[in-house]
Symmetry: C2
Subunit: 483 residues, 2 copies
């Protein structure tokens, strides 16, 4: 059996559609596929001059910038693997990922120089420093083998240990094709990326762009006015959003209507509140709910245009190349399993963790849901105790583990509570050894975990709710708060 080989996707698109827009920025700047290819190839040769080569793991710590896209494609021309770092993580969190992923080079924009310098990784360079380098004369990849690894992104899962999800080119390819078969491919499509490119929800837009020959409308960060401007004046047809963004957009829209050119808000990042979906439907806002995780290279179950209005609240059906099933003892709610060529083949250097979630191609998502009588998926509960706050995944176990590291804290429990702005926010419960001030705990936490993970409340309790096996029952934590 042969590994499937295709031409390098950016080179190919530059050949087919040299003068079409690949990237559009809010200031009106645009880059064609030919320009993007040329810049990426030159960039690859400059990186090669720093010593980057095939098989190297190169981390990118960056906000959504054109240079980040160039850097990602450049790494593919070198057959190096891009490790995409969440810029909101603390130094400790980043160092864990850099070490775990065997990263040997770090790339970042000028404004993150301080953060990058604080990381003990010897070989690193800012975008500007790379640009100043001379391109090395080397041969670049002309083809892509779908089974080769392309990116690594970290996700914590339920164990509290972040694990590097390996995405092959094939995972990204099949994800893009699955999405195309669901949404169609229209000549005028333009996809807005306001989600971070270091998450698969953002990165997948870039991949679709090079495969479909479609411009990405890139925002450095989400801003409701900028998104509206892009939809109303700049012809954006598809926007990837998480609940908190959709909420703000619908609010901002008021009683107005979007132009008919807007054909899809692709909604990811956890179940959305039904009232919001109903309001969107009332306003003719085309919301396509979806379900996916880093391990599935973005959406793997998505509503389509025909069903978006009929099945409000459902995440839809598995994309064409994928399958979904729910395993339950009573034929109703159970764990959601998915299968398909977009699903990761595993975590980097974590065969045990991989084997735990992947069996015969089926991925145990940890999320609970059910299929209705027409086979539409409804997600009813997040993977175990996952908190999704403004589209970011927060794993209680991770915060608990840091809290328990403080000498004054004996044990800790973390759970999520609903929040008007962020969907959910974490709150913590601690059993202490000695008295300790809230501020002191928060300062300690700030040193170790990213800001978005900081608990909004910390409650001192006499004991944590535990079951017969002495396992923490996080679902009961919020009841303690109410008492």
């Amino acid at each position: 059996m042969q590994d499937t080989t295709i031409p390098h996707w950016l080179s190919k698109q530059a050949d087919i559609s040299p003068h079409c827009s690949a990237i559009e920025l809010v200031n009106g700047q645009r880059l064609t596929f030919e320009e993007l290819k040329n810049q990426s190839q030159t960039y690859a040769k400059k990186l090669a001059d720093w010593g980057v080569k095939e098989g190297f793991h190169v981390a990118i710590l960056s906000t959504n910038k054109q240079e980040m896209i160039v850097a990602i494609h450049a790494l593919s021309y070198l057959k190096a693997v891009a490790v995409l770092l969440n810029i909101r993580l603390t130094k400790d969190e980043l160092m864990y990922q850099l070490n775990d992923a065997d990263v040997c080079f770090l790339i970042y924009p000028e404004e993150l120089k301080d953060k990058a310098s604080s990381l003990s990784i010897k070989h690193q360079a800012s975008y500007t420093e790379i640009h100043q380098r001379h391109p090395k004369k080397i041969a670049l990849a002309k083809e892509i083998r779908l089974n080769d690894p392309f990116t690594i992104m970290y996700t914590s899962g339920t164990t509290g240990f972040p694990k590097g999800v390996i995405h092959t080119y094939g995972n990204h390819w099949w994800s893009a094709i699955g999405s195309a078969l669901n949404l169609g491919i229209h000549d005028q499509d333009k996809w807005l990326a306001a989600l971070p490119l270091f998450h698969v929800s953002g990165l997948s837009i870039l991949i679709r762009s090079v495969i479909y020959g479609m411009p990405v409308y890139l925002l450095e960060k989400f801003n409701k006015k900028a998104v509206h401007q892009a939809i109303i004046n700049d012809g954006v047809t598809i926007v990837s959003v998480v609940t908190v963004m959709l909420q703000q957009l619908v609010e901002e829209l008021g009683t107005n209507q979007y132009p008919t050119t807007l054909r899809c808000f692709l909604l990811g990042g956890g179940p959305a509140p039904l009232p919001l979906l109903k309001q969107a439907k009332k306003l003719n806002v085309p919301v396509f709910q979806s379900f996916g995780m880093t391990e599935t290279a973005s959406q793997i179950v998505t509503l389509n245009a025909n069903d978006a209005l009929k099945k409000v609240g459902s995440a839809g059906k598995a994309l064409f190349p994928a399958q979904v099933k729910v395993e339950s003892s009573d034929q109703t709610i159970g764990e959601i399993y998915v299968k398909g060529p977009m699903v990761t083949s595993g975590y980097y250097k974590k065969p045990e963790a991989t084997n735990k979630i992947l069996k015969d191609g089926w991925l145990a998502t940890g999320d609970l849901g059910y299929l209705d009588d027409e086979g539409f998926l409804y997600v009813v509960d997040r993977r175990n105790d996952l908190i999704i706050s403004g589209g970011e995944n927060i794993y209680p176990s991770e915060i608990e583990s840091v809290l328990s590291g403080h000498p004054a804290i004996k044990e800790a429990g973390v759970t999520g509570i609903s929040d008007d702005k962020w969907g959910e926010v974490p709150i913590a419960f601690v059993v202490t050894n000695t008295q300790i001030a809230f501020d002191e705990v928060m300062n300690y936490l700030r040193e170790h975990i990213a800001n978005y993970k900081l608990p909004k409340e910390i409650h001192e309790v006499a004991a944590l709710p535990r079951n017969a096996s002495n396992k923490l029952v996080r679902s009961q934590l919020r009841h303690i708060r109410k008492e």
Copy 2:
């Protein structure tokens, strides 16, 4: 490395779009994807009752009928391989293919019963006979492994020995995806199939249909009025044609215009005359020329919407997952090579013939052409001496071989001459041992080769043009005729 697995494509589409049209007939009849799935699954179980099972090679001898589509999908549910036979072949030609492909069962429509009965293949049944059978209770395929073989179709190539091209599910899948990335996928698409489904140009429309969730508008055979009716009144958006069809359609169109819903005539089957392409352009007829062969599972190089009018006469660029190159000593015209996951991995039981044309994934097409400075392919000459007549491939060597079998004929040479109606027709040159009448030769030929292959002229000559190595120089034959 794992074999890529996807859900069974028809079951999947029936799940996603149960009530959408899968097949539409000229009489207004339609079949939804759910109905097509149910019929195909029942058909599979009936075939199983005849003993058909996984790995069996089952031949289908049929015109374009709904039952043929059902039979093809039924075989996929059984993991059997469909051997698709050209109904225009003679008994001898068919027997060669049936034996070579190890066919153990033959399916045909009632009206071809006589032809089928004349073939010495023990297990055979008409559509009606299969329908009357009781469905056997067996488990059907739920998934498709892309590396599994799905169809075998015969092509003669230059050696005169017909060879069975094996298409895996993956070859068909990638072909459909490559086409989608070129033409886009629009909600209202409806693809007209007037080309025979036993050719890959016709069959590929069925595969796109189940993958895109798009109706096939099926014609039993080409008829310019029916095609116009389908485009003008029935919303057909894409039509696969060969030159002779396009010619008739453009003639029939006169000074009228097609509705804007028609977005593509996908033109295959050999280079088209430039005057026709220019006239089509003048009339705003959207012709997308393409290049492909059975070995590439249909088109592999195709013009796109942007370039169709700019590059009249070109076959375009390789589809997204494919590559094309021209090998020549002087950087101009040379042999065309193609590569991509839609390219067959070889001929059935013919490793030598396979190795002759396939090296490192590159397929030597035998056709001559060049790439212009923007990388567009222009095909200047057919594979060796191939004659393309009304979209059917005719290999001179095959006719020569039959002619030489006649006791009165010492040697024979065949070439093509241009023909107003068919594009090209074969003519023959024979060196005789004893005198023989034209009619006698023709009667002899009719017994052995399909009608469309019959030479339109037979010239008796003293000697055939041969080169220094005594090899027949077919290109000089037409000059003898003029003398």
